[in-house]
């Protein structure tokens, strides 16, 4: 692994993680550390196990063998498997964010944009309508959605706007770790570019740690500090993004890189 990261506690430590659907293993023996402010990209073709890995990490699947530790304030590293459901759900609402590939899965489509952003605040006890509304307004501005859309339903938003709303909804409680599953999937190229700029800015400004699953190496290059390449459930290569993409060692990585469209 990289030597010039400081020796502070990792935000997330994964050791020998695996998951199987019935008899079929989807991912196995995955290990890595993630530090505050780092963006880790997980790349590979579909079926490589990257989405399953993300689901295990973000607590949506109860993982099989292996451990995941998270640096929960103020306790330090805790094994996620030892948390009660209440503790885990609280973590997911405050310290973590999950940005779904399809924004409809990560938003309440039947309530206004402002309510979508304000919900987490209300869930942790905020009771001042005016304040909730002004925080929501700030976030809409931050993700470049016009304030005149605050009371509109997400149904009326374009795909790119829905995705940005989803991001705002997740970031409002100041999470330290965000899981993203193909955040630019389904968006056209210019919209993607705008979204990627936004993500890059947010990540830097807020020292967010991100675990980003994508099949698009261009997205990975733009956002991720480090990459993990997965094939058939296993990590076949990892390292600094530029190193992995410019000088791939594993034949599978070489194949992926060579099939990237050179723009």
């Amino acid at each position: 692994m990289n030597d010039d990261r400081d020796t502070a506690t990792p935000l997330l430590r994964v050791s020998d993680l695996g998951y199987s659907y019935g008899q079929r293993p989807a991912c196995r023996e995955v290990s890595f550390d993630l530090y505050p402010g780092e963006v880790l990209g997980i790349v590979g073709e579909s079926g490589s196990g990257k989405s399953t890995l993300l689901s295990c990490l973000s607590g949506r699947l109860d993982s099989g063998p292996g451990h995941v530790w998270y640096d929960r304030r103020p306790d330090g590293l805790v094994d996620l498997a030892t948390l009660s459901e209440a503790e885990r759900r609280l973590l997911m609402r405050t310290d973590w964010g999950v940005v779904q590939q399809n924004p409809r899965d990560g938003l309440r489509m039947g309530v206004s944009a402002g309510a979508n952003i304000g919900e987490r605040l209300m869930a942790v006890g905020d009771r001042h309508f005016g304040t909730i509304r002004s925080v929501a307004a700030d976030w809409l501005t931050e993700v470049e959605i016009g304030l005149d859309r605050m009371d509109d339903l997400p149904l009326s938003f374009s795909g790119g706007m829905q995705q940005r709303l989803q991001i705002a909804r997740n970031l409002v409680t100041g999470p330290r770790l965000v899981f993203m599953d193909e955040p630019t999937g389904g968006l056209d190229v210019s919209v993607q570019a705008k979204l990627l700029d936004l993500l890059r800015r947010l990540v830097t400004d807020r020292s967010l740690s991100v675990i980003l699953v994508t099949h698009d190496l261009a997205v990975a290059r733009l956002l991720a500090h480090r990459l993990m390449v997965m094939k058939e459930g296993r990590v076949v290569e990892d390292g600094l993004t530029d190193q992995v993409l410019d000088d791939p060692h594993h034949p599978y990585t070489q194949l992926l890189v060579s099939s990237m469209l050179q723009v």
Partner: protein
């Protein structure tokens, strides 16, 4: 001058008198007898027993008479009566393989041991009104002599398939007590025994619609009628003092086994899956609908994704009880004027605010 409306008691008494009068109708017409209902409206009696969860033909007939033919009202009467009955014992499960069969058909095999026995059925009638029936003392055929006991073995189709391992078995929990939805509240997800109980008591119309929906693409189960059998079965229980089963009587039931599209995966070889329906008396349509819905409700357990209403156990089981449903639907007739008052005031206020142009959320 306004005087608050009083006299609710008198109004109710008068309503009851009117009801009794309407129930009797034209006094020159002979009064309906319980025996007539039990004999000649037997299918209505069967339905009331099934949804009322009480096997007593005369009581069901009485309920139908008292309810003036409204079957859901009759079911309600029977259920309320059932509540007051003491629980004396729990019988052994009835053995439909040992049924004295009156009707038995299978759509999955052209012929099978015991044969296809049509029994009394509307299936092949032409739906032409028979005006001869309008005459009350019409010449009817004398009752046929009692049929000889059928000594042919009549194995159940599902047992035939099971011998070859072709149909998935039910996970048996023989040691566990059978749940009772009339004694414990239903909590979701519900176990199979409680689901079947709810379906057995469920409204025939509701289940029929849901079963129909599974055939039209709302959920894919591709059912075959493996077997439908109607007849009487012996009810046995084991009294504590004796320690062996004794025969306490007979009930007539209709049983339907639906056989559904085979499932399978890389680990498990393909098998047929089952849907089960059971009713008191001859409630064939209900037994079939119940079997379709039973199978649909197994979708999640069998690893499928719930996409259709008939596959959603909370939806189906919360709404299939006609007594609960009609109670709540009809409760809308009760006065709600206090709450309506609140809504009236709210709507007026909001309209006022709208006219004054201050619906701005920031205000206030």
């Amino acid at each position: 001058m306004y005087v608050a409306v009083k006299g609710g008691e008198q109004a109710i008494d008068a309503a009851h008198r009117l009801l009794a009068d309407a129930r009797r109708g034209d006094r020159t017409v002979p009064e309906l007898g319980i025996a007539q209902i039990a004999q000649q409206l037997a299918l209505a009696v069967d339905r009331v027993m099934t949804e009322g969860s009480l096997y007593d033909r005369d009581l069901a007939a009485l309920a139908i008479k008292q309810a003036r033919g409204d079957l859901i009202e009759a079911v309600f009467l029977l259920r309320a009566y059932r509540t007051t009955l003491p629980r004396l014992a729990v019988s052994l499960p009835i053995d439909t393989a040992a049924m004295a069969v009156e009707r038995r058909i299978s759509a999955t095999f052209k012929d099978l041991p015991g044969g296809q026995v049509l029994g009394p059925t509307f299936d092949y009638t032409h739906r032409l009104l028979d005006f001869a029936l309008a005459a009350e003392e019409g010449a009817t055929e004398p009752a046929p002599p009692a049929a000889e006991a059928d000594l042919q073995p009549m194995p159940r189709v599902t047992d035939i398939l099971a011998k070859e391992g072709l149909i998935a078995g039910e996970p048996a929990d023989d040691d566990g007590p059978v749940g009772d939805i009339t004694r414990e509240p239903l909590v979701f997800p519900a176990d199979h025994d409680l689901r079947l109980q709810s379906l057995a008591r469920g409204d025939e119309g509701f289940l029929l619609g849901l079963g129909y929906s599974t055939q039209r693409g709302y959920g894919r189960t591709h059912p075959f009628a493996g077997e439908i059998r109607l007849g009487s079965v012996v009810v046995e229980l084991v009294p504590e003092e004796l320690g062996f089963p004794i025969d306490i009587g007979e009930v007539v039931v209709t049983e339907c086994q639906m056989v559904n599209q085979f499932r399978g995966s890389k680990q498990q070889p393909p098998q047929f899956t089952r849907g089960y329906g059971l009713t008191f008396g001859h409630c064939e349509r209900k037994a079939m609908a119940m079997a379709l819905v039973d199978r649909a409700l197994k979708t999640r357990d069998l690893g499928g994704e719930v996409t259709a209403p008939a596959e959603d156990d909370e939806f189906v089981l919360s709404h299939c009880d006609a007594v609960a449903a009609s109670g709540f639907v009809e409760h809308l007739k009760l006065p709600h004027y206090v709450d309506f008052q609140g809504e009236l005031a709210m709507v007026r206020t909001l309209r006022q605010a709208g006219e004054n142009g201050d619906t701005d959320g920031e205000r206030q």
